[in-house]
Assembly symmetry: C2
Homo-oligomer: 345 residues x 2
């Protein structure tokens, strides 16, 4: 992206913010996530996508599924500093939660994927994640599992060519768009004032006062609901030079700069969601910060140049816990079989 | 075990077989599995055990759960030659299915665990599986996850000491004892003659005629239902010297000999179940045989000194597929949370 485009984007975002400003108070989580025009969410796609999401045969050695690092039986991540892929290989960044990820307007920490569809294709062929040599082999393997044919037909229509990498990603994304689960906080925001404890309310007020929501706004506490593909980024740290920078090696990874090669994108990151943040320790792109208390202190210092009092930290952490999703009961998918042979060596 | 005990055991098994002989035709899978006296199956234990079974935090780096290698969304194993533990480390033997494992009278390929309880403790501290340094640390970690306290209390009564390794194993075993799922074949055996295709019936008759059921008898096709802890073993190969021995390195692993150090146990193995065998490729203790057809040919040659005709193989394979469990819908467990911190580094 060149400078001119950058200016245009900044202008667009500013115009958008100015227009939306009155609505920029926190918002209740919508029941339905926006989907791209070419991938409307259907029951059949969701069913297929859920099976694909749990299928470890999409990794080269049959050990890693999407759910391995984005565990929906937990907070939607793996609670590890960085994820572990096939062969024990470690990734460079901490896995973000898949819960409510449909409300992020770009995907990955650096926003390098515009949609969940685009995101889903990445880990499949990342050598430190699922490590398939290429998408062609992913598709070939899916084709070798007989019952996927029926599932793809139901989702995308009849035809051998319907089993392709785009439809694979579309189905996974469609499933992920159903992983929307509100929290006690949403009840409170909708008027049920008993839904929060006093300390949680205080925490919400404190977070507002110190300025957390100047970035963590919107329905997913991850910025305004910009059009899909338009990221909401922030420098981290904004206030460089605190002891945290060195202690937690925050400046080592250049973030969005690695995508755009723009000087202004150095150490810029997509604003992370606060939903389920209590369930997704450790913290930040490198997972170097172990606890939520410390993450709150770090944010206040590095982003707002504020030293929080201990009781403020306690309040904010209490509020953040009220953003844990109230997870529903979910049925396990059944993985389609290969009878009498295996696809992984 | 010394020779005298070996003789006693052989005598016991022979006496048992003589007594049970009229009943040694194939049996319908019972609805309830035998449980040890000190671990009766209760709903509360099963609920806890299911959560533990899916919890990757029982492995040192938080990546491997029991379900990683014994995937109940699939055939109860991982469809790999040998399993992959933390750090990409490979085990020495192929993971057996957890489905209907409650009917195996000893556990592991070499029968080194008498019960599911004893089995469950092994992988937790096996350095190439879940790799916890010791059971004490497993228990400490469970104690650090607040909601396990409530789950253990419900299952085992109040008291901090109730969270211990024995109860952890008991709960997992109790859950595993619920993983009993019959197949179409059981319907057929119960009188529903339409439950099998003609070729599957032919396969059953062929398998009977060539002698498969002289070992693969009983409700789990893994030998007679001996008392828990009494294994039913067989030499493999019985007829040494076929080309298969070398091709698939069958003699490399000494099997039960490594447990007992008895010369007579060299290359002896617990007789494997045939249930879900079509879903659990690749085959044998080392997972060296890729397909079920080949596994059937190998068994006939090495155990019965029989060269099967191609149509016999086709029939037997068809019959074996009728032993696939008709899996039920299952609810995902929700993993108890640690709010604001993580236990894995």
């Amino acid at each position: 992206m060149n400078k001119k485009n950058n200016f245009k984007l900044a202008f667009f975002i500013l115009a958008f913010l100015a227009f939306k400003m009155p609505a920029l108070a926190q918002e209740v989580l919508p029941k339905v996530a926006p989907a791209p025009e070419d991938n409307p969410t259907t029951t059949e796609k969701v069913i297929l996508g859920k099976v694909l999401f749990f299928d470890p045969r999409l990794s080269i050695d049959g050990t890693i599924s999407c759910n391995s690092c984005h565990n929906v039986m937990a907070g939607g991540d793996d609670n590890r500093p960085v994820s572990v892929g096939v062969g024990g290989k470690k990734g460079g960044r901490s896995a973000p939660t898949v819960w409510n990820s449909a409300f992020l307007t770009v995907q990955f920490w650096d926003g390098r994927a515009a949609t969940l569809e685009e995101q889903a294709k990445g880990p499949l062929v990342n050598p430190v994640e699922m490590a398939m040599p290429n998408h062609k082999l992913v598709v070939e393997r899916i084709k070798m599992i007989p019952d996927y044919k029926m599932l793809f037909e139901k989702a995308f229509g009849v035809g051998d060519d319907k089993i392709n990498i785009d439809n694979t990603a579309k189905a996974i994304a469609a499933y992920e768009r159903t992983l929307i689960v509100p929290a006690r906080f949403d009840k409170w925001l909708s008027g049920d004032k008993k839904a929060l404890l006093e300390i949680e309310e205080q925490g919400f007020e404190t977070a507002k006062t110190v300025g957390c929501f100047s970035c963590h706004m919107g329905p997913n506490f991850s910025g305004p609901q910009l059009p899909l593909g338009t990221g909401f980024y922030q420098q981290f740290p904004v206030y460089k030079g605190s002891a945290y920078d060195k202690k937690y090696q925050f400046l080592k990874d250049k973030g969005r700069f690695d995508v755009t090669k723009q000087e202004s994108d150095k150490n810029k990151w997509r604003v992370a969601s606060l939903r389920n943040i209590a369930l997704t320790a450790p913290y930040f792109h490198n997972g170097m910060v172990q606890t939520l208390d410390e993450a709150v202190r770090v944010m206040a210092k590095t982003q707002l140049n504020t030293e929080l009092k201990p009781e403020q930290v306690t309040q904010i952490v209490a509020f953040l816990k009220s953003l844990n999703s109230e997870f529903p009961k979910m049925e396990m998918p059944r993985l389609p079989t290969t009878e009498g042979y295996t696809l992984v060596k």
